[in-house]
Amino acid sequence: MSLAPLSLHKPNYLSVSNTLRSWLLTTDHKRIAILFLISITFFFFIGGFAAVLMRLELMTPHADVVDKEAYNRLFTIHGVVLIFFFLVPSIPGVLGNFLIPIMIGARDMAFPRLNLASWYLYLIGGIIVLTSILIGGADTGWTFYTPYSSVYSNSAVFTMAVGVFVAGFSSILTGLNFIVTTHTMRAPGMTWFRLPLFIWSHYATALIMILGTPVLAIAVLMVAVERMGVGIFDPALGGDPILFQHLFWFYSHPAVYIMVLPAFGVISELVTCFSRKRIFGYTFVAAASLAIAVLGFLVWGHHMFVSGQSAYASMVFSIISFTIAVPSGIKVLNWTATIYKGRVWLTTPMLYAFGFIGLFTIGGVTGLFLAAMAIDVHVHDTYFVIAHFHYIMVGGTVMAYLGGIHFWWPKMTGRMYPEGWAVFSAILIFVGFNLTFFPQFLVGYLGMPRRYHIYPEEYQALNILSTAGASILGIGYLFPFTYLLWSLRRGPRAESNPWDAAGLEWQTTSPPPTFNFEKTPIVTQEAYAYELVSQEDDLPGRPNPTEGEIPVLDAPPQEDQP
């Protein structure tokens, strides 16, 4: 491992130029990643602010902070902004853009200008959504169900839907770029089965983006066409409102995997690096990503059990929904097996990875409750559902995103973050998250419906707990925002490979030069060759393994032939 200080003479991708023009017209995938980082952080705080107001309102059973119209607008802003403008582009836009070319040993994406176009489309979509908020907001929730969004629309629903439509094309272009880049830009020796699992899960994500997002765009267009008098969703014109739900969920269930598959990729990298072990069952973890991408398209009707959908269709959707737990389970079990008997190094990214595995498992298992038709009828549209998908999206994706940001921060910025503060806020976020959302499982099971600003007195205690948790969570998010900004100037300079990690992205300098590597790397081994790395040296804070235990894993006992 090289301990040479960062060479200050060679320009890196950040120092090469710093004019506004050099940022806004860049085609460097790393700079585009930074543009995404800044913009999704902005939208994260907008969506988060809406959540703060909602939790304040829900502290008491009465309407104190906002009235019902404003509350409808708040949860719509919260959902639309955080799903389409934070969760969907978060890990792919920031970490995916930054890392995919470096991890496969390429100079850039296959289509660098398309990559920049993707960011501009995201930004234009975001501005349209912000405009719709300012001209009156929308009251449909992020799902835009007809007839709220068509016949009975009384707010700026359509403007907001157009914003989502435009941002959808950003997602399609990102997906296209990831797929072509993975196929055509791999360095010599980087075979498919040497690819980091981060690449596999982004490849699977990209497939969903390309195959699913157009259907959302079509559904939005159909609402527009109906407003011109053509009957598609309005029964009075010969249409069917449930058709909208079919089209919407054909995209929006797989979109859950657009949000969580990249998180799986991040966790696979964190768990191997900080356990100093090869991933357990590489091919299974890779294949599970693809299986999730395909199966994810066959289950959407589980959102429609009480909509009037045929009970027979519901049965089929329910059964297929159960099968998708298998590849997700494979991943969780394989991460656990990777950690087992590893030399665990408890850094901030690893804390987030532990948080992810536990919280995602709770979110996944409660998803199975909801895939069972009888239970779903009981808890449909209650806080149980809210708690379930926040365990997946916040406990899962946001945890992985923060873990990934901390892990690759030295690579992206050339600076280390302050470990003490980071550990403290990781714990704060974990506690705040659980205090916010666990009570929602309970209050939902007791029957409190979602999307109301008032509720019966008996639900207050659990709601106060939830609001208290949300305050801790909100403060927890402010810490990384603050110390990461601080570290840009004051953080200690990062070495090329501060974690002693095996991936290709750690072979280049921190931050990398514009074209990532001095010369095209020749790949001779996979990204998880940790047994080789860890025998050479010891890092502080990492326990020594008990000698004699590791070979047991490598060499299964020989069967004696009689």
Binding site: L247, W300, S310, V316
Partner: protein, 104 residues
Amino acid sequence: MSAHVVPIRVYMRVFAALMVLFVLTVAIAFVDFQHLLPFTGAAIINDIVALLIAFSKAALVILFFMHVRYSSRLTWLFAIAGAVWLAILLALTLSDYFTRHWLT
């Protein structure tokens, strides 16, 4: 990856075929199979014929105008995946509409 040069003749022929199919679609729409054929439910033949024509038109556009015919197997795979995913959308959506009346 090399750009395949297609003679303009081919494009003209495909265009002519598309126009013929277009006229055919309109013409078939005026034929009422329910009246022509003796069994009930024959009206569905109208839909089937219209869809077959539509699919052939789409296939011509994809194969020739979008150059899939001259592309690698990988491009074929992705083009077919697009069609399969459309089939998933239609099949599972129709599984709702076709079975709703079973429960009465």
